[in-house]
């Protein structure tokens, strides 16, 4: 037996009912967290989470597990910092080991232009509670002695933004902790039920049609990844979303001695070591929209090439597995949360490459929105109608790689 076998979480499955106060479409981190916070913060437990596959089987199980709040605009920094804070106490709150670890994140700069961007980011981060310092090359080297400071002779490290609260957690464990917590309080989670339509009366959603029959609902939250355009269309909504592939890969596991989360924007590369000891790496999304889960070799080749440029020791590590997730990207690189114009139909999408780190805050805020009928201040800037109102949330900080 290994120390990483899940030994605590108990999942309790129920038969679906004909009606719930709230139906949540999508049993990933976001949907399950919303169910959890509805139950724990608002006492709303007559809730069903409908998952067409198995829980955490979409992007919740395919991301690269990074938690950070060093975004580019105040509204985003505030929101993600809420998530960072909730993550930091998640283990204590749920009494479950999600392998959360604060590691600090180093965002490398390789040129004057990069330096300018990283310093600017540090300023807005620190002002809104996400402590980030500009550090010089010597300090970078101290924090990450494995770095080739010349960047293979091509990308010299001139400094970095150091984001103190950068952390990682095990993605599956987060999903299960929320699922179990919601189930324990009476919420239902149903696997292998796919939503095929929405029931709408007037301008109000009244339920969902599923592969196992109709289910009435007082409110419906769409928390799916990758198929959000189709689900929104069931409500007659058009979304500013394109779905792209995002690839990643992992090596075998080694002793856990690589401390930080390291990223380089110019090299389109980031890496951290998992709790189990695997080196986990990724890069940028593919440019064209796609729902395919196939990985390609050129991504692996290119990302590995850039990786060994910065971290020569990686050269001798064995790549074990690569995979692909899909991410829903909005035009301003910010999420879309809250009401939709169809009464009782809520949405959480636009999570691009940063959905995992947002899970607790998204769940908490949407639970508040659903239970009170009012949009909380923290997510008000991220409403769907911002595009028509010329109040987009352009975030260069989140247009990064992870």
């Amino acid at each position: 037996m290994n120390e990483f076998i899940e030994q605590r979480v108990s999942l309790t499955w129920q038969q679906p009912k004909k009606s719930y106060d709230v139906v949540i479409i999508g049993g990933g981190g976001h949907g399950l967290a919303a169910a959890y916070y509805l139950a724990t913060r608002h006492g709303i437990t007559n809730v069903a989470v409908l998952e067409r596959s198995y829980i955490g089987g979409g992007n919740s199980g395919r991301n690269t597990t990074i938690i950070r709040s060093n975004y580019g605009i105040p509204e985003a920094v505030r929101f993600y910092q809420r998530s960072v804070d909730l993550y930091a106490t998640l283990e204590a709150e749920t009494d479950r080991w999600v392998m959360h670890k604060e590691k600090g994140m180093i965002g490398l700069a390789h040129s004057e232009a990069n330096m300018r961007v990283e310093k600017a980011r540090a300023a807005v981060n620190t002002a809104f509670g996400a402590k980030t310092d500009w550090i010089g090359p010597d300090e970078v080297k101290k924090m990450c002695p494995e770095l080739d400071m010349t960047g293979g002779g091509h990308y010299p490290v001139v400094g970095a933004a150091y984001h103190h609260s950068g952390a990682t957690a095990r993605h599956d464990r987060v999903v299960w902790a929320f699922a179990e917590g919601a189930m324990k309080r009476g919420a239902h989670v149903h696997q292998r039920i796919e939503v095929t339509g929405l029931q709408i009366a007037g301008n109000r959603v009244t339920g969902v049609q599923t592969t196992q029959g109709d289910i009435a609902a007082g409110a419906v939250l769409c928390a799916v990844g990758g198929h959000v355009t189709s689900v929104a269309a069931m409500a007659g909504l058009r979304l500013p979303i394109r779905t792209h592939q995002l690839q990643a890969f992992v090596t075998n596991h080694y002793e856990r001695t690589f401390a930080p989360i390291l990223s380089s924007g110019p090299l389109l590369f980031y890496v951290s070591q998992t709790a189990r000891g695997e080196m986990l790496m990724g890069a940028e999304i593919d440019r064209q929209p796609s729902y395919s889960y196939r990985s390609d070799y050129k991504f692996l080749q290119g990302c590995a090439f850039r990786a060994v440029t910065l971290l020569p020791f990686l050269r001798n590590l064995q790549v074990l597995r690569q995979w692909t997730g899909v991410c829903d990207m909005s035009p301003d690189y910010s999420p879309i949360m809250g009401q939709t114009g169809v009464e009782g139909f809520y949405i959480t999408t636009g999570w691009g490459t940063w959905g995992f780190k947002a899970i607790p805050a998204s769940g908490e805020q949407l639970a508040a929105a659903i239970s009170t009928g009012k949009t909380p201040d923290l997510i008000a800037p991220f409403s769907l109608d911002r595009f028509a109102l010329d109040r987009t949330m352009a975030d260069r900080g989140s247009a990064g790689t992870h």
Binding site: T229, R238, R242, Q288, Y291, S292, P331
Partner: protein
């Protein structure tokens, strides 16, 4: 994955830049609403989509093709 460039031949997708054809549903009639839809909203289909690709490493011209977004198959 490859794309067929009528000017240059079959080439890896990484030689191209993606471009999109927008279309606003007829049901949207208000002029401003149509403008917002054209600027921001996306069809994002799961299935065949007509799209444009700029062959940046070759002829530097646009090509138009159909691709199935579920499988990435060029139709």
């Amino acid at each position: 994955m490859n794309l067929p460039c009528p000017n240059c031949g079959v080439r890896p997708i990484t030689e191209f830049l993606y471009g999109e054809l927008t279309s606003v549903p007829d049901a949207i009639t208000d002029a401003d609403a149509r403008d917002v839809d054209r600027a921001f909203m996306r069809n994002n289909p799961q299935g065949p989509q007509t799209e444009r690709w700029f062959h940046v490493y070759g002829c530097r011209r646009w090509i138009t093709l159909q691709r199935d977004t579920r499988t990435d198959e060029v139709l």
